[in-house]
């Protein structure tokens, strides 16, 4: 019962957060110079009358509270609005874009978890040994390289060099799993590596720190004293406990990234939420911007709730506030 109450409360506050975010995004875009939205959509030499008409058509001349009310009204009916630029419904734009972003994020996640966890566990097991030191430097390098630099280098160094020599498996741009697993991986491998490098570093540090912390606990000393092999100690007992913060960080990260990986998508031409939101912002395409921002925020809020729920379920000591 307490759990249900907790869940309900978190969902309600989550909705509150979303409302604040939507309001913030809405207001932010009304600081734009008047008429620039219509201009950016109207083509090369529109007449004054044409501009006025586009403004009226899109409802840009109504008072801001009225526009916001229409927006909320549509939202409550599950309709995120219609793009100013193409008239497409934002729902359908999302339906196209989300699988692309998800492709990048999910694959990247598998990669960074695998690399981050394994390197982190090994580093902790042989703390301050040679492996640990090398891994530390590697990790820091991964953290320090901006995504756009890494992406461009991979494009030029891997994609171009391989294709010039006739190996055409690695491609840029997007291909979905429905086009064949091999094709999908060929297109997504470089974006995954780009995205995963920075995150693997974070997870490696997180795992290492958390595992070392756990290894210092009394019950681990007991296990060691009982004569269990180090390997058993680490994998049977320590890792499980150490993974809690990793899982929660994972939830947040996936939630955040599903809102769009702007730089990776732009460099590789994936055409997901991140790339499209950049275009929408420059055009002042408010419905698309609001739709994307809300969806992105919703993912983060949902991830937070799930993570807190997991904490509450797993660790009764955690106070449910």
């Amino acid at each position: 019962m307490r759990l249900l109450q907790f869940l309900l409360r978190r969902i309600l506050t989550g909705i509150l957060v979303l409302w604040v975010v939507s309001l913030g995004a809405f207001l932010l875009f009304f600081a734009r110079p008047a008429g620039s939205v219509a201009r950016s959509l109207a083509g090369k030499e529109p007449s004054a009358a044409a501009l006025q008409l586009i403004t009226r058509q899109l409802g840009l001349d109504q008072p801001i509270p009225v526009q916001y009310w229409h927006f909320v009204d549509r939202l409550l009916h599950g309709n995120l609005g219609y793009s100013y630029a193409t008239g497409e419904s934002v729902n359908s734009i999302l339906a196209q874009d989300l699988p692309r972003t998800a492709s990048v994020v999910v694959g990247g996640m598998v990669m960074w978890l695998f690399v981050g966890l394994s390197v982190g566990i090994l580093s902790a097991a042989r703390a301050r040994g040679l492996f640990d030191r090398i891994a530390t430097l590697g990790v820091l390098a991964g953290l320090s390289l901006p995504t756009f630099v890494l992406g461009q280098l991979l494009l030029w160094g891997v994609f171009l060099q391989l294709n010039k020599r006739g190996f055409t498996w690695i491609q840029d741009g997007y291909a979905g799993p429905s086009q064949g697993i091999g094709t999908w991986i060929g297109h997504m491998l470089l974006p995954w590596i780009t995205l995963a490098t920075g995150s693997a570093a974070v997870y490696c540090r997180l795992t290492r720190g958390s595992l070392l912390d756990t290894l210092g606990e009394d019950y681990i000393r007991t296990a060691r004293a009982k004569g269990l092999t180090e390997r058993r100690v680490i994998f049977r007992h320590a890792v499980r406990a150490a993974l809690t913060p990793v899982v929660s960080q994972l939830g947040i990260d996936v939630g955040t990234l599903l809102g769009g990986v702007v730089v990776t998508e732009t460099v590789f031409g994936i055409g997901g939420i991140g790339q499209d939101s950049v275009n929408a912002i420059v055009q002042g395409n408010l419905p698309v911007i609001l739709g994307f921002v809300l969806v992105a925020a919703a993912f983060v809020v949902a991830a937070n709730i799930i993570v807190d729920l997991c904490y509450a379920l797993l660790d009764p000591r955690v106070r449910i506030t």
Binding site: T13, A25, S144, T147, L195, S248, Q249, V262, V278, I289
Partner: protein, 339 residues
């Protein structure tokens, strides 16, 4: 073993698992542990060298005869626009407008360090304040502030940066504003968590029972205990801010040319690195070295603050394990290069 070591050992043992600190001797111990950590010391030196170079940028400009924004098309680029490579005239090569890359990197260091330090300072001050207040008072204040922090952390940061750049025009103050806006939220979250766990300790109860007011408790009793973790977070926020600025410049939202920032130099390099490797390699190396140094230093400080260091690894040298991260996950202090 010296007397000091034994002293340190016994103090550490007495202190047992409590992360509490009191008095000034602990700081001295921390400092000594830090000095024994060779990586941290090396990083510190690297940072000082970079800062020194940044400060001396005008001197180098005078020395080479190339200003930050001065263009030398005749010596710096070929007639088809290909930049000149590293050599006698341009120590690290030239960029597409015939400007000296070395001098621009030095001025860029100024921007990067300035952005890193200022945003961290603002973010830390604001984050500590909000976190302390939320953690200490609890109740609806905590709820409101936490939800606000959540809202801030939920907002896609690049979108916000883009939106602000479109609305107000890109500039250095705007970059600082955007980065600080996200930096404080992460710190606030961690500080709140720490505050919550600290405020239950007995000595806080004791302070309250003798009639100390909430502000005194917060700032005189709790805050000093936060300095350690906050210092670590702050040191680790600097490289994150530097990368954030570089990313914003890549998207055209950061420091505007011709003012040099490592981010906008790298953005310019995009179209030239296949004919001018130096244009990509040197700025990338500068970023890499600087952020790595700050990260190592932050790690070192974190290790130095932890008194359990001596107990667990007494037989080895001073490089030790990182302190546990208290509080909810998703804390700041990790260099997130992408959202």
């Amino acid at each position: 073993m010296s007397i000091t070591n034994i002293e340190a050992q016994s103090q550490a043992v007495q202190a047992a698992p409590v992360v509490m600190v009191e008095g000034r001797s602990q700081w001295r111990l921390t400092w000594r542990r830090l000095l024994r950590d060779r990586m941290a010391v090396a990083s510190g030196i690297v940072i000082l060298v970079i800062a020194g170079l940044a400060i001396a940028a005008p001197a180098f400009a005078a020395l080479t005869g190339h200003g930050q924004v001065q263009q030398f098309p005749n010596t710096g680029i070929s007639i088809t626009g290909a930049p000149t490579g590293p050599g006698h005239t341009f120590w690290l090569g030239a960029d597409e407008l015939g400007r000296d890359l070395f001098v621009r990197l030095l001025y860029g260091a100024r921007i990067s360090l300035f952005v890193g330090v200022v945003t961290t300072a603002i973010g830390t001050a604001a984050g500590v304040a909000v976190g302390l207040i939320a953690g200490y008072f609890g109740g609806w204040i905590d709820m409101a502030l936490s939800r606000f922090v959540d809202a801030v952390l939920a907002f896609p940061y690049i979108m916000l940066g883009l939106a602000l750049a479109v609305v107000f025009g890109p500039s250095l103050p705007m970059v600082i504003g955007v980065i600080s806006f996200f930096a404080w939220a992460g710190i606030a979250r961690v500080v709140r968590g720490q505050t919550i766990s600290i405020k239950e300790r007995e000595y806080i109860e004791a302070a309250r029972s003798i009639g100390a007011g909430p502000w005194r408790i917060m700032f005189i009793e709790i805050l000093p205990n936060l300095i350690g973790p906050v210092l670590v977070l702050a040191t680790l926020s600097v490289p994150a801010a530097i990368i954030f600025e570089a990313t914003l410049s890549f998207l055209g939202l950061g420091v505007q040319p011709p003012t040099a920032s490592w981010g906008n130099i790298l953005a310019g390099a995009q179209n030239y690195y296949s004919v001018a490797w130096w244009y990509l390699v040197f700025p990338a190396a500068a970023l890499l070295i600087t952020t790595t140094a700050f990260n190592l230093l932050g790690d070192g400080i974190r290790d130095a603050l932890d008194p359990r260091t001596e107990r667990l690894f007494a037989s080895r040298r001073s490089r030790s394990r990182p302190a546990p991260e208290a509080g909810p996950p998703g804390a700041g202090g990790t260099a997130r290069a992408e959202t």
